[in-house]
Structures are given as C-alpha cells and as structure tokens.
Amino acid sequence: MVAALVRLRLLVLRNSFKRSVGQLVAVILGGLYGLFVLGMIVLGLFALNFAPTELARTIVVLGGSLVTLGWAVLPLFFSVEQTLDGPHLSVFPIPLNKLLVGLLVSGVVAVPGAVTMLASILTAGSWLRLPGVAVIALVCGVAGALLCVMLSRAVTSAAAGLASGRRFKEAAGILIFIPLILLGPIIAGTASSLRHSANVLPSLADAMSWTPLGAIWAIPSQVALGDPLGAVFRALIGAATIAVVFVVWRWGLARSLVTPVHATSRVRASGKLGPLGLLPGTPAGAIAARCLVYWFRDPRYLRQLVIVPLMPLLLWFYTTFTHVPAIVFAAGPIVAFLLGVTLIADVSFDSTAFVLHVAKGVPGRADRWGRAFAVLVFGLPAVVVITFLMAALHSEWMPVPALLGLSFALLLGGLGVSSVTSAVVVFPAPAPGDNPFKTRAGANTALLGSTFLSWGVLAIVAAPEIVLLIVSLVTGDMLWGWLCLLVGVVLGPISLAIGVRLGGQVLDRRAPQLLMQLRKDA
C-alpha cells in the first residue's frame, strides 16, 4: 500500500512533465536550482568542520528552525501536491495508518522533501571530527526532515478542515490566517531589533534550541559541546513535537476523509439584487456588479482583499522596527499595485462559469470594463485613504501628491495591463468553493510567467510617475510632486482605456480558446 502511494506520487510527477513543454522547462530549471542550492548547502555544511563548534551550532540550529518554520507556513500560500490528499483517497479502503506512512514517504520523495531530507542528513558532514556526533546528526537529520514533511501536511489538513467546516464562515476562514501572514514581519522585526545588540545570533540559536522548531537540530551540537543532559532534554522536546504534529495530522486527515471540502453559505432575502440593482444596467455594469459581489463574498477574492488593511499594518511594523519612517509611505502605491495586478486571475477564478459570458456574446470590452470597474470602486478610495492616513500618522504631507500620482498609475495601469494578460492566458486556480489557499498543480509556472511579464509592462507604463516621484523626493520640491499627481491622473486612465480596448479585442478573438483551457483545468 505504501509502495503503491509512493509509486502514484512518482507517476504524477512524471506525468506532470508531459503536460506541456513550458512545465517541463520549469521543472528542469527548478530542479537545477534545487540542486545548486543543495550543493551550496552541502559545501557549507562540510566547511563547518573547520569552524568552531559554537558557530556550527548557531548555523545549524537557526537554519534548521527556519526550514521547519518554512515547511509549516509556506504550504498555506503555495502549492502542495494535491493528488495524494485525503479527499482524493477517501474512496479507497486504505487503513489510516498505512495512509499516513504512505503520504509521509511520498512527501519525502517529492522534490522539496528530497532536498530537505538530503540536506538534513548531510548535517552529519559537519561532524567528521567526532564520528559519534555524526551518527547522532544523521538520525536527527532524518527526524528533522520527517518533522518538516509532517508539519506541512498537518498544517494544510488542519487548515483545510477548519476552513471548510460548517461553523466557520468563509470570511472567518480568511481572518484566521491574518495573524499567520503577520507572523513573518513579527519574527523579522524581532530578529532585526535583536541584531542591534552584539553577538545575538548564538543566543537566538540557544533560545530556538528550546523551541519545537529548533530542538531536534540542536541535539548533535549539544553532545559535541559536552552537554549530554541538554541533548536529552532537547531530544524529549523534539520527540514530543513529532508526536503532537503526528496526532494533529492524523486528526486532520481522518477528518478530511469524511468531510467534503466544499464550504456552505447562508440564505439571503429574495428580491434583493445587491450591486446588480445599483450599477448601470448594461453588460459592463452587470459584470462590475457581479465582480463586486464576488470580491466580498468569495474567499478567493477576500484573501486578496485583506491585503488592503493588512499592507499598511505590515509596513507600520517594519517602520517601528527599522525606524525608517519612509517605508510606511509605500503602503498606498503597494496596495494600488497589488489590487491592479490581482485582475490577472479574474477569468481563471470564474472557472467554467465564464461560459455564460461567451454564450451570451458579451463584447470583450464590456467584460474588461466591468471587471476593472469593480476593483476601482473600492480600490481608488482605499488607496487615497491609505495614503492620507499614512501621511497623517507621520504628519508629513510633502510626498502625498506624488504618492497619489504613482498609486493612480499603478492601480489603473495595473488594471489595464492585467486586462490584456487575463484575456491571453488562464491558469488552474482554486475552484469556487475550494480552500482559497489551495494552489492547483501546474498553476505556478503559467502564473509566474504571465505575472512577471505583466509586472515588467506595468513598470514601463508607470515609469513617468516613478521618475517624477523620485525627482520630487530628491529635490524636495513640491512642484514635482504635483506634476506627478497630474501625470498619474491623466496617464492612468489612458493606460487603463488602452488596456481595456486591447484586452477586449483579444478576448473577442480568444474567448473560445480560454473556455477550452478552463474546461481542461476544471
């Protein structure tokens, strides 16, 4: 049974190469990059033989903690292999424990798992002077890597279980993750403030060695330092961590085997058309209204919407930790940028429901206008409010006009650019009703390519405002700021109009192809 699951995992990996040449190239590039990183890590680990034990300990414990943390947090935001998750396997009569072992081993077989496992095992390479410690490091490496894989599985299955449970409304599912999103800056902020005091990394490593994240990685060095009792304590912490994570994972998996992933929602009063009754009664108006409904009702959109309040907060964190007040002023442009480029996923999020637009013969331009307008409805006020709020926070009004100019350029230009991009490509997105944190297999490559291309174009589109902002900041002359605002107010709408027009033409031509791709991905 375990072997069958592992074989299935390898088969999926092999078949994913066959999907497209682009994917194959991406996998090869990813593999080469992984090998390169692994090679550097191994070199570094062996180099530690010539370093004092203290240094080796600091590096291994901090690196190990970071990797473990990454395995716990990253699966919430990026792709985890979906073929071998609970709901897919629930129809087969596989005993739960065999399933757990199978999933664990197949997790190690996947590329990230294999890299982690190899690197962890090779921590033994740092202890060539002390063969006994090397053996302990080998065992701890295996345990640490297994903990990583289990942790990612436990986090995803627990999160999916919570997010799709009846009691958790869809918005609540999003709110749960806000502290997680803020976890990064909190840790980074703590670390950076600690860095100001001398010699902080070893003491940080010492602290981490007592946490579930770092305990396992500290065992070999503890022995090497001649502290067997400390090693035993950390081994106990590590074993307890593994046990807890295993239990959580087992619970989550057992739950996901019997709980379908689809979320439910509530009944609302009839006769209420919502935005559909407010916006203009044209195809474009209707699409804008529908998009607005989705922005505030669909978890996949809500996840992007939480950026709006969260980004200023995030930057405020950084400002307080780094004492560079300028960072906080970036909030407006960053939110504008993120909202502008979110439209790339819009058609993909429609999934095959997009068939309605094609069947009704909606003109491409109406489609583009509607989607862009929906973002503008809340995006423009949000950007303006954030910019003024941040300025008020620091009582520093000088950069406001230039920042507004740049924000308009990024928001409107971003909408324009992604109006074209989303008419050209669609990619596998989480299906409506699915966990919004799920990423579908094969999504990243297509998404990354089109995203980076769009960003590049957007950088060119917004170049005048960027330059004017820099000039205004360097010279400190308000005139340049006002000029930036003027250029943004004029050029922004123009770039949006061009994008909508162009995207509309492309969509008119390509709608059936997009639909075919959406069907394939569905």
Binding site: T264, S265, R266, V267, R268, A269, S270, G271, K272, L273, G274, L276, G277, G281, T282, P283, G285, A286, I287, A289, R290, V293, Y294, R297, D298, D350, S351, T352, A353, V355, L356, H357, V358, A359, K360, G361, V362, P363, A431, P432, G433, P512, Q513, L515, M516, R519, A522
Partner: protein, 300 residues
C-alpha cells in the same frame, strides 16, 4: 413527415405548458414546414440551410490525436424538438459547443436561422440559449441575481431583465429559492436556474446539453413541459441525452452520433423504423456485449 406542432406527451403533469412566456414569435411557427427541409436529402449540399433553426455542415474538431467530431452535418428544422443521442464520448458536447459559438471548429460551417455563428457571433448568439453541460454557474449569486445577470449580459435593460426573471422563476417554480445562493441549490434546481438563464433573452433556439442529468423525475417532467411549451410557442429545442426513453417520448426529431459522425437522423419514427429507439440505438452504435461479467464478481 414532420409533425409541425409537436405535442409533447405531458404524462399527466399538472403544469400547463402553454403558459410559457419567453417564447418569441417565430415566423415559421404557424405555416407548415416544408417536409424536405427536415430530411437528409439536402444535407449533401455543402451550403447550410438558411431556413433551418440550426444547420451544421462538415463540422470537424480534433483534440490532439483524437478526432472528436469527424464531419458532422445536420439540419434542425424550425419548431422541432430535436434529440441528439450517442454514447459517452461520441462528440455530442463538442458538436453542441461548436454549434453555439463556445468552441472553435477546425472546419465546417454553423448557421442559426441563416446567421453564420462563427462569422457573426454576436447576432447569432442573441438567438441562441445555451445550457452547457458540466459548466459551473456564477454560484455565489442568488438565483434571482444570476438570472438578472444573464439578462443584462444579453444587453436588455434592467426593468425587462427583472420582470422576465420574475416570470421565469415562477415558471420554473423557483420563487421560494430566489434569494438563496445558487451554490446551495440542489442539482435539479441548479439545472432549472441555468435553464432560466439560458431562456431569459428569449432565444429562438435552445441548445441544452444533458438537461436531465442528475435531475429528479419531478423536476425533469417540469422541465420537459416547459420545453414542450417553448416548442409549441414556435421555438426550437435541441437536447443531448443518453436516456433513449426520454428522447423517444419527448423529441420529434433525433440524430444518432457515434465516433464523431452522424449515423442516423430524421424524425424519431424514421430513425427507429418501428423498433424501440433504444434497441435501434444499440444496433447503430454497437458495443453491446452479452456476458455476465467475470467469475469473481458473482456472489451467488
């Protein structure tokens, strides 16, 4: 040979089909059909029949190595209730998608009431109502919102969209669920709301891909009545299905598709030739095996 105003067997269902609102007046609904228009004689001509509600000529679609549709030509007469039957993977959905402007054909022509679907998509699509099989709906909208949305997308003004939505919801017996999110609908209700969305712009031709799949018998009977009313009001309906019994009772014309080709078409009586449609279908399509399955599957 063609039944001009096909009366659909209503099986004692209590919904009066004659009350169908959105059926537009079609010019040919009152005058008798030219019999030749329905037959296969004209199908040999490479030009599509402008008098037909839907006319396909030499449609071809290839997916990779697989030729899903391999030269399909069909004429669907105005005012007919046309069944498209075939085994799984026969190319029914692919054909209907190409006929409604949802999938680009590799070759071939499609006209709807004389309008080339792929040359004048907007004009053609205004006359077609589509129920796509297996496609999602914008199910985060309420049923009412979805139908109004469909109406607005077709370019009608809001008051019209709202009043037609009210009529359709009443017709389909969905008033109570008007304010419920479509995602919470049952399978039958979902089909019905999708049907409402397809009918809201008063199309002359309804193309329904598997309208009865996963629909309970009562809902199916209601939908059948509504479609019957639509046809008697001068509209044309094409349904794809693999439930022969349903097609035999409901449709007046039928085409059998297998392996991407039409193997028989015409009125239901012509195609079945005195036999039961299902037997005739199996005979045409082949693949029936008489055996009891492997030994290990038998428990007694």
């Amino acid at each position: 040979m063609t039944d001009v105003n096909p009366s659909v067997p209503s099986e004692g269902a209590d919904v009066a089909p004659a009350r169908v609102a959105p059926a537009p007046p079609a010019p040919s609904s009152t005058q008798p059909e030219v019999p030749a228009a329905a037959g296969q004689h004209r199908i040999d001509s490479p030009e599509p029949d402008p008098r037909a509600a839907l006319s396909l000529r030499g449609l071809v679609k290839t997916f990779g190595q697989k030729r899903a549709v391999d030269g399909i030509s069909l004429d669907v007469p105005v005012g007919s209730f046309y069944g498209l039957v075939g085994p799984n993977g026969a190319g029914k959905t692919t054909t209907l998608n190409m006929a409604t402007g949802l999938l680009t054909p590799d070759a071939g022509v499609v006209t709807v009431h004389g309008v080339d679907v792929w040359r004048h998509p907007l004009t053609a699509k205004a006359q077609i109502g589509v129920l796509a099989d297996g496609a999602r709906l914008f199910d985060r909208l309420t049923g009412e919102q979805l139908v109004v949305y469909s109406g607005l997308l077709s370019g009608m003004d809001r008051p019209t969209a709202i009043s037609r939505t009210r009529d359709l919801l009443q017709l389909l017996d969905l008033q109570d669920a008007a304010g419920t999110l479509v995602v919470d609908y049952s399978a039958g209700m979902t089909k019905k709301i999708a049907l409402a969305g397809a009918m809201v712009h008063a199309p002359r031709l309804l193309v329904l891909d598997e309208p009865f799949e996963s629909v309970d018998p009562v809902s199916a009977a209601n939908i059948r009545d509504i479609l019957g009313g639509f046809v008697s009001g001068g509209g044309t309906v094409i349904v794809s299905s693999h439930v022969m019994d349903l097609v035999q009772r409901m449709c007046d014309h039928v085409a059998v598709i297998t392996g991407g080709r039409v193997v028989a078409s015409g009125t239901v009586d012509e195609v079945r030739g005195g036999a039961d449609l299902e037997d005739r279908f199996v005979e045409l399509v082949g693949g029936r095996r008489v055996q009891e399955g492997p030994e290990w599957l038998r428990h007694s």
